[in-house]
């Protein structure tokens, strides 16, 4: 009885400590009224007002969506493109935790954090687009499972993936809070979360493409193919890594004061390595695209505006950046690689928007284009993500070194796993 009371009061005092710490950390670090803060602040406020209008009077009040174009910028860019950009997390966790290439270890945390936030915000933007959002729990609580729906799978995989990424990221949060025991437990879950996460990623990256399989009669033949899911998966590899290169070079400037010696030292090496992987993935992608093109006998379509548009996408924004990456890593030109990454990112935006918006109902006389309201809400979502990202990076050991106690924990963990292994070897030896 007494011990119960004691542990209860202990827990309460711990909780109090946590909230005190948490609220003290909520305060911004550094100047508040920077140009960036003012602009993004205004964007977010406007976005919030627009969303109130949208939920009160319907989607049509602030968007250009119509019976012909039920999905616009919010799905095509926020979700379909945003998730491709978040692909860096699953590719890098594969390289670091499965292939155990230590070279990329320094940037794994920031990449996972970025991936996690991208999902929370961009996939979260999906909710803004739902006409009857209060029913969103239906496919989750199992009241009615539409298992034959690709969207059902995508929704579930999004949810589970966010959980996996949260677990992957959580040791950093535990280090920030100084929760040693919790961190040990969470760190132990990482490999499981990584394996789970990579599996889910391959499924929903391709699943986003599979969403459009039934729109066969509506997407221009240069973009529709039954291989959309595979093309989406392959392109998410270089989309994600290009985003890592791009964000990395920005973080390097913005968070100079937080960047650990290790990241700083290895930065160029990492960028060159990523460029190599990007080039490889892009080569595979170009090959697959060519295969689809030849197989579908699409030559005749080239002779039109759509054909030109297709060539621009494929040559300017895939083939050229592919060569740039090759040249970049061969002659170690970091800035050239960064330029290639930007081109690639634009190319991915074009490709995803082509499938979902631009070449969708290409035969329609009245075309969809986003309203300023849709654009502002999209920018607001991006701004909010950057704010949260900045808040976390400025507090938790994401770019900075982890605390010494955490390093020690990891070393002990390694030792344990080695001794365990040698024990089991000994044991095996003893029975043979």
């Amino acid at each position: 009885m007494d011990t119960n009371k004691k542990s209860l009061s202990f827990m309460i005092s711990e909780l109090k400590r946590f909230f005190k710490f948490f609220f003290s950390e909520l305060k911004p670090k550094g100047k508040v009224f920077t140009p960036f803060n003012i602009i993004t602040g205004i964007i977010m406020l406007t976005g919030a007002v627009l969303l109130v209008i949208r939920f009160a009077f319907g989607l049509g009040t602030i968007t250009n969506l119509s019976q012909e174009y039920p999905w616009g910028l919010w799905i095509g860019f926020d979700v379909i493109t945003g998730v491709a950009f978040a692909g860096g997390a699953y590719v890098l966790t594969f390289i670091v935790y499965i292939m155990r290439d230590e070279k990329y270890h320094p940037i794994i945390r920031v990449t996972v954090l970025n991936g996690f936030l991208a999902y929370v915000f961009y996939a979260g933007a999906l909710l803004l687009d739902l006409g009857r959002p209060w029913n969103v729990i239906n496919p989750i609580i199992g009241n009615s499972f539409g298992v034959s729906s690709v969207l059902f799978l995508v929704a579930w995989h999004f949810l589970l993936y966010m959980l996996a990424e949260f677990i992957e990221f959580s040791p950093a949060a535990a280090e920030w809070l100084g929760w040693k025991k919790t961190r040990k437990v969470l760190a132990g879950l990482t490999l499981g979360a990584v394996i789970f996460g990579i599996t889910l990623s391959t499924l929903h990256q391709s699943g986003l493409g599979a969403l459009y399989l039934m729109a066969k009669a509506k997407i221009h033949p240069l973009w529709y193919t039954e291989f959309i899911p595979i093309l989406f998966l392959v392109s998410s590899v270089f989309a994600g890594l290009s985003m890592v290169i791009f964000e990395g070079s920005i973080s390097h400037k913005v968070f100079k004061h937080r960047i650990s010696e290790e990241i700083h030292r290895s930065h160029n090496d990492i960028v060159i390595g990523l460029a190599k992987i990007c080039a490889g993935a892009m080569f595979v992608y170009i090959f697959l695209k060519a295969l689809v093109f030849v197989h579908g006998q699409h030559w005749t379509y080239l002779n039109s505006g759509w054909g030109l548009w297709y060539l621009v996408e494929m040559i300017v924004f895939v083939a050229i950046p592919c060569f740039i990456f090759i040249e970049g890593y061969q002659s170690k030109k970091i800035n050239l690689i960064k330029f290639g990454a930007v081109l690639t990112l634009i190319g991915i935006i074009l490709n995803r928007l082509n499938v979902s918006v631009i070449a969708f109902k290409w035969y329609e006389a009245v075309r969809y284009y986003p309203t300023w309201g849709e654009i502002v809400v999209t920018l607001a979502v991006i701004s909010a993500e950057i704010w949260v990202f900045r808040w976390i990076v400025n507090r938790m050991p994401i770019l900075s070194d982890m605390p010494d106690w955490a390093k020690r924990q990891d070393q002990i963990g390694e030792l344990e796993s080695v001794t365990q292994k040698s024990e089991s070897l000994k044991w095996k030896a003893s029975i043979t």
Binding site: L59, N135, L153, M214
Partner: protein, 287 residues
């Protein structure tokens, strides 16, 4: 047959053989449908009025001359529309509404099963489940489901073959009120039989094509016409495969990947770990 149906059928079959009873429950109920004979349509739009009345939609405008000047589509306020086409100086009127596909893309797309095909044939919508994602609109090859963009509580509207009237033993309002029997309601197989009869007894009056017999795997609504269907801006490039088939391979792949991938990744991870432990004398990174 989609996977769920397949499992249900297998389940029933296995269950039935165990219980030793006849699997009467799974006996197929015949799909009901509607036959629209465009050669008989007078363009009176009675179907539009009766549809609006039966389903509680605003009464359609009666300015037919003006309406017939443009090609109309169904909308969130009108589940069926009649269009006029002048072909070789003949006026042809064509009614449009949901095709009630045998294997509807809209239902396969719906992640809450709000849109679903009843075993009697109509494809219906359940507002208590729908979350308004509009994936049904993306997927329907005929662009039928419509969404209320200016409502805080938007509905998906489309023809439901007067589902509630059928339950009461009545027939769809449009079929009941057509003065010239251009709209016939009945068992789909009977309707196809009837349509073929008409084509063969009056070969000059019809083209030899029942639109909807094979399109997208067969639809519940069938059309007869004196001219080819491109003239009505009907899509004739949709193919004969049922649209849910296009996602089948992907969906079949999912459980395979979900079971095989983790095992593969774990094995890969273990192999790289061991290598490190023995060659460099350090374990894999634990966090």
């Amino acid at each position: 047959m989609d996977r769920r149906n397949f499992l249900a059928t297998v389940g029933t079959a296995v269950g039935a053989s165990f219980i030793g009873r006849n699997a009467k429950a799974s006996e197929k109920i015949e799909m009901m449908g509607i036959l629209i004979d465009t050669t008989k349509c007078l363009g009176c739009r009675s179907c539009e009025y009766s549809c609006a009345e039966a389903n509680g939609y605003p009464e359609p405008s009666d300015d037919s001359d003006k309406l017939f000047n443009s090609h109309r589509k169904t909308s969130e306020n009108s589940l069926t529309v009649v269009n006029k086409f002048v072909i070789d100086e003949n006026e042809i009127y064509v009614k449009e509404q949901c095709m009630h596909c045998a294997q509807p893309a809209c239902a396969a797309a719906c992640l809450t099963r709000a849109m679903h095909k009843t075993k009697e044939g109509p494809v219906v919508w359940d507002g208590s489940k729908c979350m308004g994602c509009r994936f049904c609109m993306i997927s329907c090859p005929f662009d039928i489901p419509k969404f209320e963009y200016f409502s805080a509580n938007p509905k998906i509207s489309k023809c439901v073959m007067c589902w509630e009237r059928l339950a009461k033993g009545e027939i769809p309002a449009c079929a009941e009120n057509c003065p010239n029997e251009a709209i016939v309601f009945g068992k789909r197989s009977d309707l196809i039989h009837e349509a073929n009869n008409r084509i063969y007894s009056e070969p000059d009056a019809y083209v030899k094509h029942i639109y909807g017999e094979h399109e997208v795997g067969g639809t519940g609504v069938l059309y007869l016409s004196s001219v080819s269907f491109e003239n009505f801006k009907f899509r004739t490039d949709l193919g004969e495969e049922a649209y849910p088939e296009f996602t089948k391979e992907f969906l079949y792949g999912v459980p395979v990947i979900l079971t095989l991938f983790p095992a593969f990744l774990l094995a890969l991870s273990n192999s790289t770990k061991r290598e490190k432990t023995f060659t460099e004398g350090e374990g894999g990174n634990g966090h």
